[in-house]
Amino acid sequence: MRTPISYFLIVSAMLFAIGTVGVLVRKNALIIFMSVELQLNAVNLALVSFSRMHGNLNGQVLAFLSMVVAAAEVVVGLAIIVNVYRRLHSANVDDASLLRW
């Protein structure tokens, strides 16, 4: 393998930054959630790259566990979004302003 490991880390950093911008800019709760998924995937890519760099499988195990946690988190988060939609009839995060000062 000739590709330097830092190339993968830079792709991972760019994906993480794009996900951050997505979370901050978008208003649709579903797209915000997708951006969070993008960030999680970026971190997983970094973990697998580090596993390759250090020559052991601990990073891959950690990425696998984080995938399991992400699956559980997506299911609960989507259920919450559906519940908010039922109450407010909108998936826009600006509309959920009951606790706004």
């Binding site: 000739r2 208003k27 596993s51 399991v68 299911v75 559906v82």
Partner: protein
Amino acid sequence: MPLDNVVFWVFAPVSVGSAIAMLFQRNAVHAALFLIVNFFTISVFYLVLGASFLFAVQIIVYAGAIMVLFLFVIMLLGVDREETLVERLKGHRVLAITLGAGVALELFFAIRAGVGFATKAPPSFDEAVNSGGNVVALSRVLFRDYFFPFEVTSVLLIVAAVAVMVLASRPRRVFTRAGSETTSEDTTSEETT
């Protein structure tokens, strides 16, 4: 030019491009489809990095299960809704993009300081670490060193499944002590009287 280099330079622009395209989509279904493209490119990176088990898991769990769930919820909530472009906070979008660029820059410098741009992976990964195949090697680590965290995740999955069943059940049924079954509106009125 070695093969993994070619694969990287083909898939890295697709990966970043699909992520940016997801950011600019007004339609939530198109954003989900771009995210699926992005997940596929990440799974290709896993294959290049010698994590063939995670390659399969990425496609099955993320591109398969999670994105189908996303699309299902998008369909449930209605896709024809356009997002408003009104800014509640003034200058919020510019500030957010500046912050994102800051995060990217910071990570860039962190990679330069911590790893260095020319660091190559040890070439003998497949012989030394992935002996007997990636799945066998990974299961050896997972079931020996990380057995307890692995079992804890199964508890997490059960808790998540039960929580979603509670969250998503529409008419909240309450079982009273007498065994009769009433909806929540009825019980609240009963409790107040």
